[in-house]
Structures are given as C-alpha cells and as structure tokens.
Symmetry: C2
Subunit: 155 residues, 2 copies
Amino acid sequence: MRSDPGVEKSLQELERRSAEAGQPVTVQRRAALRALVRHLDHPTAEAIYADVVAELPGVSKATVYRALDNLVELGLARKVHHQDSVTRYDGNSERHHHLVCRGCGRIEDIASDALDALPVPELGRNGFEVHDVFITFQGICRDCRRASRARRRSK
Amino acid sequence: MRSDPGVEKSLQELERRSAEAGQPVTVQRRAALRALVRHLDHPTAEAIYADVVAELPGVSKATVYRALDNLVELGLARKVHHQDSVTRYDGNSERHHHLVCRGCGRIEDIASDALDALPVPELGRNGFEVHDVFITFQGICRDCRRASRARRRSK
DNA sequence: CTCCGTGCAAAAGGTTTGCACTGGT
DNA sequence: ACCAGTGCAAACCTTTTGCACGGAG
C-alpha cells in the first residue's frame, strides 16, 4: 500500500482538530485513524485493534477503544449500528448512507443527492431538534442471495 | 388498562403466524408480545422482561430473550439499534421511522408520506436487493435540550 | 512537577448456551 | 407421546473502568 493521500489528509485533520480541542495526538491515535481510514468496510473495534496491534505491538485493547472514542468525538469517525451486537466504525466523513446486508451484515456506503435532499418533516412540533439523518437500506447482497439460493436448492 | 383491541389483534397474529411456522404459542411468548405492544417507547429486552416477570413470576431472562427473537422471526417485532449498546424492540409494524435523542437515547416514532416516497437509488447495479428502508433522525429532544442548557448555565 | 494517556487486568453489562425438565400440540 | 420451549446458571463477548506508570509540556 502506498501512502494514500486520503490518509494524509485525515491525519492532518486529526492534527488540526486535536489542537483545536486541546488534545494530544499520540501514536496510538494516529495508528487508529490510519487503520480506520484504510478500511472501506466499516470495521469493528476488534478489526481496528488487530491492525493497530500489528503496527504497534503491545497496545492495549482499551487504548484502541479510547482512541476510537476520541476520533468520534473529533468528528473523524462515526459509529454505525445494526443487528450485529458489535459496534462498527465508519471513517468516511462525507455525507452518505448505508446499505446493510441481512445475510452477512456487510455494510456498503451509498451516496445520493436525492437522499440528501430528504425533507425533514415537521419536527419542532414536539421540540425535537434534528441534527442529522441516517438512512439505511436493508436487503440482501449479491453473495448472500446466491448462497441462500444454493442452500434452498440443496434442501 | 382495558383490553386494547390492538393487543388482541397482535395476539391473533401471533397465533396465526406461529401455526404457519409450526411453532408453539406459549404463555411466555404471549406475555412478551403483550408487553411489547403495550410499550410505545421502544423498550429494551430488560424492560420487557420486567413486564413479563410481573405477570409471570419465575420466567427466566433467557426465555424473554428467546421469545423476543421469536417475535422478530415471525415479523411481529423489530430490533432497533442506535448508539446505546442495548438492543431495543419495536412492536409497531406499520411503516414508520425514528427520531433518536442523542442525550437520553429515547426513540420516538415518526411517520411521513414524504419519507415513504423516498426514491430508492440505483441499487441492483451492485446486485444488492433492497427490502426495507430505515430512516433515523438524530438530534436532541426537548427535555435534553433544556437539561443541557441548564447545565451550561450552572457551570 | 503536573497532567493525561497508556497498559493491564478486572469489572461490567447484555446476550447466548448447555442441560435437564416441563409443557404445548 | 414427542418435540420444542423453559429455567437456571454458567459462559461469552464487547466495552468500560480503576489504578499505577511514564512521557510530554
């Protein structure tokens, strides 16, 4: 893997936002961010830990969890939740939405102007102040559809 | 609490779908469903357990979890996930979406034709078959906004 | 010197599972 | 009667926390 310009940009953002928030930028946090943006597949904390520990033998799992919290706090990552009980992280800070496969739990990104133009309904009526919108399409990915078809046939 | 017709209808559905699926309808499952539909606030498994155990002293927590799984499997309930680490359940089978408060984690239902008319983007291109769409508005509910304002003032 | 992040290990939930027993159909 | 659901307790897994240590300002 060559030094991806996206990674560089993310690291600069980390630098900038941490300074702004008065928080130190440690090697562990840098490594966590690098591991996160390298993944396009919404990794679990475990997966990121695996990457970080490969780069920084001896890091503790707690530190990775704390680093991820820190990234979320700085707005460089987002937590993603679905039926899996594990939390996944998303290093994509562009506005986008998700496609979740019921079969394998895989999450794919999806961007769409139409979705972004979603009308925010008459909120405020109940005093609710909307900050963000998350749209999740649930379905079956190609691989899982194939697999379930094969399973059905063999039954 | 009088016998809500909605509860009756749900119980009949439970009967019908269980028979169809060849699954027995136990008192525990009936109680779990009743507890679920009584809640309009997306209860946790814990909350449902509390209700069920009040009605059926001696039920085990495992049974309630299994009953909830069963209801989800039968399509009578849905799991709802957000930043809280706990899974919440939704007994509302109408098409609707959610308003999640960042502060207290409370989930409110929201229905809107505009949201239902959401265009499904060019899926299929990647072989993804969409079954469902979930829209979540995240923000701050009135109570939490008030609370945070008060906190800020007292600092 | 002081503060804060780290590592380690243990705790803390929430959820699942193995096994013997009981209850639905 | 049979099979599946239940109760109980232990296991599991992910995430959090307490505490001592160590590096940076």
